[in-house]
């Protein structure tokens, strides 16, 4: 109605006002701001500013496009004229030239949209089947004896994983099952590698990985056959498909998902050799603590045994027996007294032999130990003393001091 009234009574505009009005009309239209447009790239220009300019055309029309440098640097695609693409963005009006254009923030090869639709369809199907259920996920062993790797034998992914395993857990035994990781032969190759690993090598855990790449490069990891082989694997599977943001269907089916091959190798080795070494140090101290506690207990036992032994010493028996002898003598039991006297003398012999072992016993035979009072050293030579020195003499039953007079 408004447009109609505009024609009925023509209003007057400046170019600037009209252009601004058109700009507001187009740019405020939600339907034009979040769109995918298909076409072929032409007139591609890359000035030094880093922005990208091109025209998107099909058989009937053309659309001017601009991609600002901040978006252009994130582009994974090598653009060239003639390329069939889908571009994403919103319609803008460039007022100085009165041109409308598409301000592009993402570009993907034509066909990827269809690929994505297929991805969503398959994901919904497998999800409904329960293949991605959290309850299905198996635990990864803490100390894997054998680690299976399914990847390309010539990629950086394998090198990264082996380096990580070597650094973190060199006790592992690694079995590589090589497979192509992109292209048509990748899905059957990955499936065969997973099956053979499980059947022949029986690993404790499997790393399924490849290095980073474009979505198309990673497409084998969205293949239904690969997803089902992961689910069927005896050993838990950790995926490390090098793509930080996008999940593949293999990631959803895996028991653990890591963003890179290196991170997958880390998840496969939750306990590192450093942890084991620390554990061993702890075990050693436990072992020592246990044995010291035991020694302390035994030492206490030994002390009490020693006092028991003292209680049973022959000296004690000599005294007891002597008393018994006196007692018996009093009672006139001569024969018994004689036997006891004999036993007593044997005991005395025993006592003498015991005391002979005592270094001090020799003193009872008249020897003395002479020490210099100044330094407490034993005087073993006349040359060690001089007139006026104070000495100590120790004999069997005590000691006394003397002074050297000559």
């Amino acid at each position: 109605m408004e447009q109609l009234s505009l024609f009925k009574s023509p209003s007057r505009w400046t170019v600037a006002d009209l252009t601004r009005h058109l700009r507001q009309l187009l740019e405020s239209n939600e339907a034009l701001q979040n769109i995918w447009v298909q076409g072929e790239i032409s007139n591609l220009a890359r000035p030094a500013s880093g922005h990208l300019y091109f025209t998107l055309k099909d058989s009937a029309a053309s659309l001017r496009c601009v991609m600002w440098r901040s978006d252009a640097t994130r582009l994974r695609l090598a653009l060239q004229d003639g390329m069939a693409v889908e571009v994403h963005g919103g319609i803008r009006v460039y007022e100085p030239q009165g041109q409308y254009q598409l301000q592009v923030d993402a570009i993907r090869p034509l066909g990827e949209g269809a690929l994505y639709q297929e991805f969503l369809r398959l994901k919904a199907l497998l999800e409904a089947e329960g293949l991605f259920d959290p309850e299905r996920k198996r635990a990864v062993p803490e100390l894997p004896r054998r680690i299976g790797i399914v990847t390309s034998p010539s990629g950086a992914a394998l090198r990264d994983m082996l380096n990580t395993l070597r650094r973190r857990y060199p006790l592992a035994d690694v079995i590589l099952a090589a497979s192509p990781v992109q292209g048509d032969e990748a899905p059957p190759g990955l499936v065969a590698a997973l099956q053979n690993l499980n059947r022949v090598a029986q690993p404790d855990v499997i790393l399924l990985a490849r290095g980073g790449g474009s979505i198309e490069d990673l497409w084998a990891f969205n293949d239904e056959r690969v997803v089902r082989a992961i689910v069927a694997s005896e050993a838990p599977v950790i995926t490390g498909v090098g793509h930080e943001t996008d999940f593949t269907l293999a990631d959803f089916a895996a028991d653990l998902r890591a963003p890179t091959p290196t991170a997958a190798a880390e998840l496969a080795t939750p306990v590192t050799i450093l942890d084991l070494q620390a554990g061993l140090t702890f075990s050693t101290s436990r072992l020592e603590t246990a044995i010291y506690a035991l020694f302390d207990g035994q030492r206490g036992l030994l002390d009490s045994l020693q006092s028991n032994l003292r209680f049973c010493s022959p000296l004690r028996r000599v005294q007891t027996e002597r008393q018994r002898l006196d007692d018996l003598s009093r009672r006139g039991n001569a024969a018994q007294a004689h036997r006891l006297a004999l036993e007593l003398s044997q005991l005395k012999g025993l006592e003498r032999r015991l005391s002979a072992l005592n270094p001090m016993a020799v003193l009872s035979r008249g020897y003395a130990v002479v020490t210099d009072k100044q330094n407490d050293k034993i005087v073993s030579s006349a040359a060690l003393v001089k007139t006026g020195d104070d000495l100590n003499v120790r004999v069997a039953d005590g000691n006394f001091d003397v002074r050297v007079t000559q």
Binding site: S154, P170, L171, A172, I175, N196, S283, A290
Partner: protein, 80 residues
């Protein structure tokens, strides 16, 4: 943890076996009363197991093989 002939020389044990036996000895020493001689034997066995584990960790080197068909063949990493 018996004294029987099933006790292998430590050099024949893998890390996991040696560590599991060490754990058993530790809990026996920490919780059970045994004759001194037996305890000393356990302690010495424990020390030997610690030494074995430490050696295995020190010289651990990852072993990489490749599955080709039904066979495990050696894998030369310079291929990478």
């Amino acid at each position: 943890m018996s004294k029987n002939a099933d006790i292998k020389p430590v050099t024949e044990l893998t890390y996991e076996q040696a560590f599991a036996e060490l754990e058993g000895i530790l809990s026996a020493l920490e919780t059970e009363q045994r004759p001194l001689e037996e305890t000393m034997a356990l302690f010495e066995r424990g020390q030997a197991l610690v030494k074995r584990c430490a050696e295995l960790l020190d010289k651990a080197e990852i072993k990489v093989r490749q599955l080709s068909g039904e066979e495990l063949t050696s894998f030369v990493e310079s291929q990478v």
